[in-house]
């Protein structure tokens, strides 16, 4: 492991390959076991699902080795160990190798991958400040969630398959983050999409869950098409260096690409980001993705995969910087999504759905930030990091709640429904404590991590030069939308908090005694994340003039040349406007929720009755799913059925194939008519043939 430093040039560190390789190995171990050792045809083990045995608590988890055909195989511990190792390597590389470089990056030796003609795409990993931060987030939060899953999935007989998928996902996500070229990023991009599908539809015997997985995959695919087209456009336009590494793209971007080409490519890439990061209108898969196990929702759909789009835009900042129109579109879509999704959180009764729409909304914030360009890239990444902490925490908390409710309620009741929860703060104290920390972070309680990151997002939007260059008042409009969305966020999160943890228990007298706190494997990760959510503001708090994150990421955003970016530094003096307004939004939202759910609990029902139409729109998620189904899905299905299947497949292709057979049969029948059975007819044929031959021979002889 030489670290030969050249000024500004990347430093070689081949140990980087370990970071994605370790989870991949874990996936292989668990996956191969699931495939070959466990599976015996006709095994009659009944589905030992999640709620079979009573008596939870800390002691019961020692018995999880004996449940189900997964048997005593410690799938979860193996997976967690691999993740922990990956985190260790990442931390080591980050602290000892990267930090001393002050902005340069560490790379591996390039591995030849696609070599055809003059196209040479090598696989190479890059650990620079941006990818290093995200690698730590992914491995760190990932390890915590793996640990949580050990407890959560203790009684699932398919848990070795689960952990294999989870490790595979982590490996793919790390490839996405650490890849140094667009194609390698895309490999990870596709890989996480696949793992998302596998994990959402993990309990595939339930048809609804399988359909949800399929929906996620298909909608992601739509985004991937945009990504591919953008990548191809860049490939075709890059004059001399068709290798699509980020450094080579950065070199050619300034001056070689025409503005139209850049804008088109950026918009296409943004379509891909929309699919992955669940922006309007490609967000529809995320609420359905809650069909998967809750740790999956926490890891994939809160902390990591959905942030891939934001990461990609930040990575390619040099392209987006040069396309102000694309920036405006991105920021607008982000702001719209933030507000739009927040409204849908008002009336949801499924705890995970509330969190899902909250994720879409927060992703909208991040996208708005990276659309704003300039410091927005750093702000977006910052919010990405804090969101990973508090959203994962919130999801894990909800998982804890669901786990408890599942054991308490009868089998046909919905354990996710918050209407049957209430008063949980007494029954599940640790869950309550960690959850309220998460609430504070997401709602924007001053000095928690979310407060700072949301502040930065709003500030960078308001001060955005790129946005102002397209339309003077665009920054202000988007800023206002962001503030409003922040208020909505505070409102619905407070609503959730109140309905679940406060008030009287609503689960019924039979179920009430059975609700108890979760085991240590589930509580410890929540506590760790709570600490991170509370103290995450330490990364960047301009309020106090403290900006280590900005200085850390600035070299990446400014690039090696650093010449063509403007407005990267923070404003000379601190602007109080966003902070004040964001805090006001927090207070307003929280107060409104308190008003409606604690002070006057009868109000929500009355409001819903009086505003039936609006309530219906919110309840049905503004009918977006139905619209998309009507516009895109049903016509395609109908065309598939009547034109492609009946028309072409059955009519043309089957017709041709069968027609050939029928033709052969008819030809045979026609020829068969020669067999009259009348010998004279045969004799005619013979004579005719002889005559022809004789004429021919004689003509040859005498010509």
């Amino acid at each position: 492991m030489e670290t030969t430093a050249a000024a500004g040039a990347p430093v070689a560190l081949n140990a980087l390959w370990l970071i994605p390789a370790l989870p991949l190995a874990g996936a292989a171990v668990n996956g191969l076991r699931a495939l070959f050792v466990r599976w015996t045809p006709g095994s009659a083990d009944h589905a030992h699902d999640h709620g079979a045995s009573a008596g939870h608590g800390d002691q019961a988890h020692e018995h999880d080795h004996d449940h189900g055909p997964a048997g005593a195989w410690p799938a979860g511990w193996i997976a967690t160990a691999f993740m922990l190792a990956a985190f260790g390597v990442a931390m080591w590389a980050f602290v000892t190798q990267l930090l001393p470089l002050h902005g340069a990056g560490l790379t591996t030796d390039p591995m030849p991958w696609i070599v055809a003609g003059n196209v040479e795409i090598h696989a190479r990993l890059l650990l620079d400040p941006l990818s290093g931060l995200l690698a730590l987030v992914v491995t760190g939060v990932g390890t915590l969630i793996h640990l949580y899953s050990v407890g959560y999935m203790a009684h699932d007989e398919n848990r070795d398959r689960y952990f294999a998928y989870l490790n595979l996902f982590a490996a793919m996500m790390l490839i996405l983050i650490l890849g140094d070229s667009l194609p390698l990023l895309f490999v990870g991009w596709e890989g996480v999409g696949l793992c998302s599908y596998l994990l959402i539809g993990f309990w595939y015997t339930d048809e609804q869950k399988a359909i949800a997985g399929k929906k996620a995959f298909v909608v992601n695919r739509v985004g991937d098409l945009g990504f591919l087209l953008g990548m191809f456009l860049l490939f075709a336009a890059a004059p001399t260096q068709p290798s699509l590494t980020f450094s080579s793209l950065a070199d050619v971007a300034h001056g070689h690409f025409s503005p139209i080409l850049l804008t088109t490519a950026c918009l296409l890439l943004f379509v891909g980001a929309c699919g992955k990061s669940a922006q309007f209108p490609l967000y529809i898969w995320l609420p359905d993705a809650m069909a998967g196990p809750t740790p999956v929702s926490a890891l994939i759909h809160a902390a990591t995969m959905v942030t891939a789009g934001v990461y990609m835009i930040a990575r390619l900042h040099f392209l987006f910087e040069l396309a102000p129109i694309a920036c405006a579109v991105i920021a607008s879509v982000g702001a719209f999504t933030a507000l739009f999704a927040a409204t849908m959180g008002f009336v949801q009764n499924d705890v995970k759905k509330v969190l899902a729409y909250s994720t879409v909304s927060q992703l909208g914030f991040m996208v708005m930030a990276v659309g704003a360009a300039g410091t927005g890239y750093i702000a977006g990444v910052y919010h990405l990091t804090t969101h990973a902490f508090f959203k994962a925490l919130l999801f894990l908390g909800s998982g804890s709640l669901i786990h408890a409710m599942h054991h308490a309620l009868p089998a046909d009741a919905d354990p996710n429904d918050i209407r049957s929860m209430g008063g949980m703060r007494h029954k599940m104290p640790w869950t309550f404590r960690t959850f309220i920390v998460g609430w504070a972070a997401i709602a924007g309680f001053p000095f928690f991590s979310g407060f700072f990151s949301k502040d930065e997002v709003l500030a960078s939007t308001l001060h955005s030069e790129r946005l102002a260059s397209t339309f003077t008042y665009l920054p202000q409009i988007l800023f206002a939308a962001g503030v409003l969305a922040a208020a909505c966020t505070a409102f619905y999160m407070t609503r959730l908090l109140i309905l679940v943890f406060f008030g009287k228990p609503r689960m019924g007298a039979a179920a009430e005694p059975k609700v108890h706190e979760s085991g240590w494997q589930m509580v410890v990760p929540m506590v760790v994340l709570a600490v991170l959510s509370a103290l995450g503001g330490i990364l960047w708090a301009p309020l106090f003039g403290w900006a280590p994150l900005e200085h850390f990421l600035a070299p990446v955003i400014m690039g090696q040349s650093g010449a063509f970016l403007a407005g990267v530094h923070s404003a000379p003096h601190f602007d109080w406007t966003p902070t004040i307004l964001a805090t006001a939004a927090f207070v307003a939202g929280t107060w409104l929720a308190h008003y409606l759910y604690i002070a006057h609990p009868e109000m929500p029902t009355r409001l819903a009755a009086r505003r039936r139409g609006l309530y219906r729109m919110l309840w049905n998620k503004w009918f977006v799913d139905e619209a998309i189904e009507g516009i895109f899905v049903n016509p395609v299905r109908k065309i598939s059925e009547s034109v492609l299947w009946k028309g072409i497949d059955v009519g043309v292709i089957d017709g041709t194939v069968n027609g050939v057979g029928a033709l052969a049969a008819k030809a045979g029948a026609a020829v068969g008519r020669l067999q009259t059975g009348l010998t004279q007819n045969y004799a005619v044929g013979i004579t005719g043939g002889v005559a022809v031959l004789a004429v021919y021979v004689l003509a040859r002889l005498y010509s």
């Binding site: 068969g672 067999q675 009259t676 059975g677 009348l678 010998t679 004279q680 004799a683 005619v684 004579t687």
Partner: protein, 102 residues
């Protein structure tokens, strides 16, 4: 007109053969077919005799004699067949004797 030579004989033989073949292929009556076969055989004999005459040898005539004998045998057997078929099928119409039809 040139003096008669072998080629005239050959033409005669050819024409007779052609008409005999025509009859064989065309007639529906089994007896008519047998008659036409005789015509064909005779045509062959004419050609043989023509060549024998040209070469001054007697081999062609001997061969013609053999042909005649074979023709006689064939006519006998053929007629016996016709009689036999007529007995069972009550017809000598070749159109109706098509069991070989496949």
């Amino acid at each position: 007109m040139s003096p008669v030579g072998t080629q005239h004989y050959l033409v005669v033989a050819g024409l007779m053969f052609a008409f005999g073949a025509l009859g064989v292929l065309w007639r529906r009556n089994a007896l008519g077919v047998l008659l036409s076969v005789e015509v064909m055989l005779n045509a062959g004999n004419v050609a043989l005799v023509a060549f024998a005459r040209e070469r001054g040898q007697v081999d062609g005539q001997a061969l013609a004699l053999f042909v005649m004998a074979v023709a006689a045998a064939e006519a006998a057997v053929g007629l016996a067949l016709v009689v036999s078929v007529f007995r069972t099928r009550r017809t000598v119409n070749l159109d109706e004797l098509g069991e070989l039809r496949g």
